[in-house]
C-alpha cells in the first residue's frame, strides 16, 4: 500500500510568551515542531506499512526550514518526502493550499492519503477535506482507527460523547487523523542523523501544472486580517515583586477575602 501523509511544521506555543509582529505571530523565540495531529498520521501510516508492507511518502508545504518536519517523519520510518517550497505559495488560503497539494499529488499513485484533523497554528481543519474534493476522492474525518484492506479502508470516526462511527471508503481515499489514534514513537537524534543524507524531492511552483494566478494570496478568497492575543482577564490580578513579597501579598489577599481562617 502506498500512503501519502501531509505534514506541517508549526510553532510550539503552549508555554511560550507570545508576541505579535505585524499581524503575525513573532516566531523569533518559538520552536517549530511537527503538528501534533500530523504526527499521529505519520505514525499510523508507518505502522500500516510495517505490518503489511508498502511505502510511506511525506509531503509538506512551507519555507526552507520546514524541511525538518520531513526529516523527522523519515526518521520515524517514512520512505520518501517531498517539499513544496516556493515564494509563490505564500499567502495561500486553505483552498489554495489544497489545490497546490492536489497538483503535486496527482499521478503519485497513492492508495491512501492521511493528514491531521487540523493544524495547531491555524486550526482550519480543512486541508484534508478540500484535497479530497480537489482530487475527487472519498474522505473521512476524525479517524481514531484505520483498518485498510484490499481496495477498502474502514475508518472509525470519533464523535461526541465517546460514540464513534465506522465508515468504509473505497481506495484511494483521504482520511484526517484525530489525536490519540496511536502513541507516536520517539524520534531520537541518532534517528534523525541517520536520515540526514536522504534526498528530499523539492517541488516549486513551476513543477506544478497550475496557472500562476491559481497560487498564493492572489488566488485566495480568505485573507487573514489580524491576530489577537488573549486580553488580560478582568478577574486576574497580577502581583509584582520577589517571591517573598508575592507570597505575602497573596496571603494578605486571601486573609482579607476570608480565604484563610
Amino acid at each position: 500500500m502506498k500512503i501519502l501523509v501531509l505534514v506541517k511544521n508549526v510553532p510550539e506555543v503552549a508555554e511560550a510568551e507570545l508576541e505579535i509582529d505585524q499581524g503575525a505571530l513573532d516566531l523569533e523565540d518559538l520552536e517549530m515542531v511537527v503538528n501534533e495531529w500530523d504526527n499521529y498520521a505519520v505514525e499510523e501510516a508507518v505502522r500500516i506499512t510495517e505490518a503489511s508492507g508498502g511505502e510511506v511518502h511525506l509531503m509538506t508545504l512551507g519555507g526552507e526550514d520546514d524541511e525538518d518536519v520531513l526529516r523527522r517523519g523519515l526518521a520515524m520510518g517514512a520512505h520518501a518526502a517531498s517539499h513544496l517550497c516556493d515564494e509563490a505559495f505564500e499567502g495561500s488560503d486553505p483552498a489554495t493550499v489544497a489545490r497546490i497539494f492536489a497538483a503535486a499529488v496527482k499521478g503519485g499513485g497513492y492508495d491512501l492519503i492521511l493528514t491531521g484533523v487540523q493544524s495547531a497554528d491555524l486550526g482550519q481543519a480543512s486541508i484534508g477535506v478540500l484535497l479530497a474534493q480537489e482530487l475527487g476522492l472519498p474522505h473521512a474525518t476524525m479517524a481514531i482507527a484505520l483498518e485498510p484492506s484490499a481496495g477498502e479502508v474502514v475508518v472509525t470516526r470519533e464523535l461526541e460523547n465517546n460514540t464513534s462511527e465506522k465508515v468504509a471508503l473505497p481506495l484511494p481515499a483521504v482520511v484526517t487523523v484525530q489525536s490519540g489514534i496511536n502513541q507516536p514513537r520517539y524520534v531520537s537524534i541518532m534517528g534523525i542523523r541517520k536520515v540526514r543524507k536522504m534526498t528530499i524531492e523539492q517541488i516549486e511552483a513551476d513543477d506544478l501544472s497550475l496557472a500562476e494566478d491559481a497560487l498564493g494570496a492572489a488566488a485566495s478568497m480568505v485573507a487573514s486580517q489580524s491576530l489577537v492575543l488573549p486580553p488580560m482577564g478582568d478577574g486576574a490580578q497580577m502581583l509584582e515583586g520577589g517571591l517573598d513579597s508575592v507570597c505575602d501579598q497573596a496571603a494578605a489577599i486571601l486573609r482579607e477575602k476570608g480565604g484563610l481562617a
Binding site: E31, M76, Q183, I189, L243
Partner: protein, 669 residues
C-alpha cells in the same frame, strides 16, 4: 610398606568409567564452548580496553572474598570454605591425575600429608555446603532465592564430597592400611562398616555412585551458576573500565547485544541478591529487580547468540522466550534511578546499572517503547535545552536583582564559571540554591560568573535516559561554548551536571582546554580550608545529612559536606541509618524526576522515615533533585511538622548571616 595411592582399587570395568568420563568432559566442553562463543561475539560487539583493575586487588577479592565479607560474615565464611575446599580438592584431583598418568610422586610422607590435606579440604567443603543450605532453608536470608538449582547444586556437591568420604572409608575398612589415620575423615567413617568383607562388598557400589555423581557434576559445571568461578574473577578484573564514547547501534531495545565485559558480568552474577536488598526501587516494592534484569539479559544473550539456539528445534522456543523477556525489559528499563547502590555491594561488580543505560539507549533508538512523559522531557531538552519548560531563555530568572557577570559577554572575566544547571535555574524551590550560593561566593570574594540565559544543558539527563545522540549534541555544544569563551574552571550546583561534565565531557573535547570541575560543596570546602569561609552565625540546630548518590557513591564525596556542617557553630550532625556510601536514593535520579511510572512508590518518603527517626530538625542535602524530591515527600508523607529540608548552600548562607536568601522561611517551618 610404603604408603601409596591405589588407583582403581578393586574396581572393574574401568573402561566404562573412561567412557562416561569422556562423555562428561564432552558436555563440559560444550558448555565452555558455548560461553566462549558468546564471549567472542561480545568482544566483537564491544572490545574491552586494555586498562584493568590492579591485579593484587582482584586476587584479594577473588581468593579472600573481600567483597563478600563486606556484605556479611556468614556469607564470607561460607564462601571461603567453599572456595578453598573446592579449590583444594580440584588441585588434589589434578595432582592425582599427574601421579597416575605422568610422574608418580604420591608416596611416603608426601602421600600422607596429601591425604590429610584433601581430607581437610573435603571437610571444609562439606561444612561450607551445609552452611549454604542452612542459609537458604534454616536461617533464611531474605535476599536469597530458592530456585531449584539453588538447592540442587549444593546438595549435589554435598553428595560428591560425602560420596568421596564413603568410598575412602570403605577402602580403609576393607584394607586397614597402617597409615589409615592420616585420612582422618574416612578413617572416622570406616567404623560404619561392620566388617572388612562388608566394606569390600559395598565398595564397588559406593565407588560407582560416587563416580557417576561426580561426572554428572563435572558435566553440569559450566551450565550452572558455578560458571561464576571463571566469570567473576574476569568481571572483577575488568571493573572500572574507562568510560568510552559508545557508538550507538540501533540495538532493538533488548539486552542481547552486549559487549564482552557485560557478558562476563552476566555469568559472574550468582544471584546473591545484595543488589536487590539495596536497590531503592526494589526495596520500595516496585516491580523491578536488578537481579532479574541480569537474569533475563543472560537468557537473552544466550537465546540470541548461543550457537546452541541456532539448532532448528530450539528456534521456536527461542523466539517465544525472546519476546517475553523483551516485554519485561521494556517495563523494567525505567525504574532504575542510577543510584549505584547495587554496584557498591555487588561482590563481583556485575550489577546492571550500565546495562540499564544500554537498554534505555536501545529503547530510545527504537522509539516505540519510550514512556510519553520521557519523550516529552527529551523533546524539551532538545528544543529548549532544559527538561522543565517549553520556553527559551528560562535560565536567568533566579538571578534577578543580583549583579552576576554574564560570561557570554565580550570582556567579561571571572576565575570561575558557575554552572547553575537546568533544575537549579528553573525550579522555584531549587532556585534558592543558586541564590544562596551566589551570595556565599560574593561574600567570600570568589570571582565568578554564569552563562545566564544561554547556559546549555550539560547532557546529563540525556545520558541517563539513553538519548545518546542528544547527549553528544549537548556535550559538544557546551564544550564549544566553553572553548569559545575560554572557560575551564567550573563549579556545578548539581552533582549530576558535575558527574557528567567531569567524566564524560573530556571524552568529547580532545582539542579542548583541560577542565577543572568542582561540585559546589568542594568549592565551599576549599574556601573554608583557606579561611575565606568563616561561619559566624550560630545555628543551634540538629541536622542530618542526606548524601546525594552522585556525590557520595559516584564521586566519593562524603567528607566535604560533613566537614562544612561540623564547622557551623552550634550545629549538631546526626546520621541516618543509611549514609555516606550507603546512602538511600531519593528517587529523583535516572530521569525519574520527570516520569511517573505505573506502580511507582515514593522513594523519598522512605528516606524521610529514616530522617525522622534521627530526631533531626533539619534535613540537609546538596543536590537540587534531592531537594525537590525530599521537599515533595515532606509534604505528601506527613513530615511537615517534623523537619524542614534545606540545601547545604542555603544553610551555609544562614551560617554566614546572609539572610537575603528569600528561602529562609524553609528553615523555620
Amino acid at each position: 610398606m610404603n604408603p601409596l595411592r591405589m588407583p582403581f582399587w578393586g574396581v572393574e570395568w574401568a573402561w566404562l568409567f573412561y567412557l562416561l568420563a569422556t562423555l562428561a568432559l564432552a558436555v563440559l566442553a560444550l558448555g565452555l564452548w558455548e560461553k566462549i562463543a558468546l564471549w567472542a561475539q561480545g568482544r566483537r560487539a564491544a572490545p574491552v580496553a586494555s586498562h584493568s583493575h590492579p591485579l593484587g586487588a582482584v586476587l584479594a577479592d577473588v581468593f579472600l572474598g573481600r567483597r563478600i565479607w563486606q556484605g556479611g560474615r556468614t556469607a564470607g565464611l561460607m564462601h571461603l570454605m567453599l572456595l578453598w575446599g573446592f579449590l583444594g580438592l580440584f588441585v588434589g584431583t589434578c595432582a592425582v591425575a599427574v601421579d597416575h598418568y605422568l610422574i608418580s610422586f604420591l608416596q611416603g610422607r608426601v602421600y600422607l600429608w596429601f591425604s590429610a590435606g584433601l581430607e581437610a579440604c573435603g571437610l571444609l567443603l562439606v561444612l561450607g555446603l551445609m552452611l549454604a543450605l542452612a542459609r537458604r532453608w534454616l536461617l533464611p536470608v531474605p535476599r536469597l532465592e530458592r530456585r531449584p538449582d539453588d538447592t540442587l547444586l549444593p546438595l549435589w556437591l554435598l553428595a560428591v564430597a560425602c560420596g568421596g568420604f564413603m568410598v575412602e572409608a570403605a577402602r580403609l575398612a576393607a584394607t586397614r592400611p597402617p597409615w589409615e589415620a592420616w585420612s582422618f575423615v574416612g578413617y572416622g567413617l570406616s567404623g560404619l562398616f561392620p566388617s572388612a568383607v562388608a566394606a569390600r562388598e559395598a565398595f564397588p557400589w559406593l565407588w560407582w555412585s560416587h563416580a557417576l555423581i561426580s561426572l554428572g557434576f563435572i558435566a553440569w559445571l559450566p551450565w550452572s551458576k558455578l560458571a561464576h568461578a571463571i566469570a567473576a574473577p574476569a568481571s572483577l578484573y575488568l571493573q572500572g573500565q574507562p568510560l568510552a564514547v559508545l557508538a550507538v547501534a540501533a540495538e532493538e531495545g533488548d539486552l542481547a547485544a552486549l559487549g564482552l565485559r557485560h557478558l562476563l558480568h552476566l555469568d559472574a552474577c550468582t544471584r546473591c541478591g545484595r543488589c536487590v536488598e539495596v536497590c531503592p526501587a526494589a526495596q520500595a516494592g516496585e516491580p523491578f529487580s536488578p537481579r532479574d534484569l541480569l537474569r533475563r539479559a543472560r537468557r537473552q544473550a544466550r537465546l540470541k547468540y548461543s550457537p546452541l539456539y541456532r539448532l532448528p528445534w530450539l528456534r521456536g522456543r527461542r523466539q517465544a522466550l525472546l519476546e517475553r523477556d523483551r516485554a519485561a525489559d521494556w517495563e523494567a528499563a525505567w525504574y532504575c534511578t542510577t543510584c549505584r547502590a547495587c554496584l557498591e555491594v555487588c561482590p563481583v561488580q556485575a550489577a546492571p546499572i550500565e546495562m540499564i543505560r544500554k537498554l534505555r539507549a536501545g529503547l530510545v533508538e527504537q522509539g516505540s517503547a519510550v514512556p510519553p512523559q520521557l519523550m516529552d522531557t527529551m523533546e524539551k531538552l532538545f528544543r529548549y535545552g532544559n527538561p522543565w519548560v517549553a520556553k527559551k531563555g528560562a535560565k536567568a530568572g533566579w538571578a534577578q536583582g543580583r549583579e552576576i557577570p554574564d560570561l557570554n559577554k565580550k570582556g567579561a572575566e571571572a576565575d570561575w564559571l558557575y554552572f547553575v544547571g537546568c533544575t537549579t535555574a528553573i525550579d522555584t524551590r531549587a532556585q534558592g540554591i543558586a541564590r544562596a550560593l551566589s551570595d556565599v561566593f560574593i561574600h567570600c570574594g570568589v570571582s565568578f560568573g554564569t552563562l545566564g540565559k544561554k547556559e546549555p544543558c550539560c547532557g546529563d539527563i540525556a545520558r541517563r535516559l539513553g538519548e545518546q545522540g542528544l547527549m553528544e549534541e549537548q556535550i559538544e555544544a557546551t564544550q564549544a561554548l566553553l572553548n569559545k569563551q575560554g572557560l575551564t574552571r567550573i563549579i556545578c550546583t548539581s552533582p549530576h551536571c558535575f558527574d557528567t561534565i567531569k567524566k564524560v565531557h573530556p571524552l568529547f573535547s580532545e582539542e579542548g582546554l583541560p577542565l577543572q570541575v568542582l561540585h559546589y560543596s568542594q568549592m565551599l570546602h576549599r574556601l573554608w580550608q583557606q579561611g575565606r569561609l568563616i561561619f559566624d552565625h550560630p545555628l543551634p540546630i540538629k541536622v542530618t545529612y542526606h548524601d546525594p548518590c552522585f556525590l557520595a557513591r559516584h564521586n566519593r564525596l562524603v567528607d566535604e559536606p560533613r566537614d562544612l556542617l561540623r564547622a557551623m557553630p552550634g550545629l549538631e550532625l546526626v546520621e541516618m541509618a543509611d549514609h555516606g556510601l550507603n546512602s538511600l536514593c531519593c528517587g529523583g535520579g535516572g530521569g525519574r524526576m520527570w516520569h511517573e511510572i505505573p506502580g511507582q512508590a515514593n522513594l523519598a518518603v522512605r528516606r524521610l522515615e529514616q530522617a525522622a527517626s534521627t530526631g533531626a530538625e533539619l534535613v540537609v542535602t546538596a543536590c537540587p533533585l534531592c531537594l525537590i524530591m525530599l521537599e515533595d515527600a515532606r509534604k505528601t508523607g506527613g513530615f511537615e511538622d517534623k523537619f524542614a529540608i534545606i540545601d547545604l548552600s542555603e544553610l551555609a548562607a544562614r551560617a554566614l548571616g546572609l539572610a537575603a536568601t528569600d528561602r529562609e522561611a524553609a528553615v523555620n517551618p
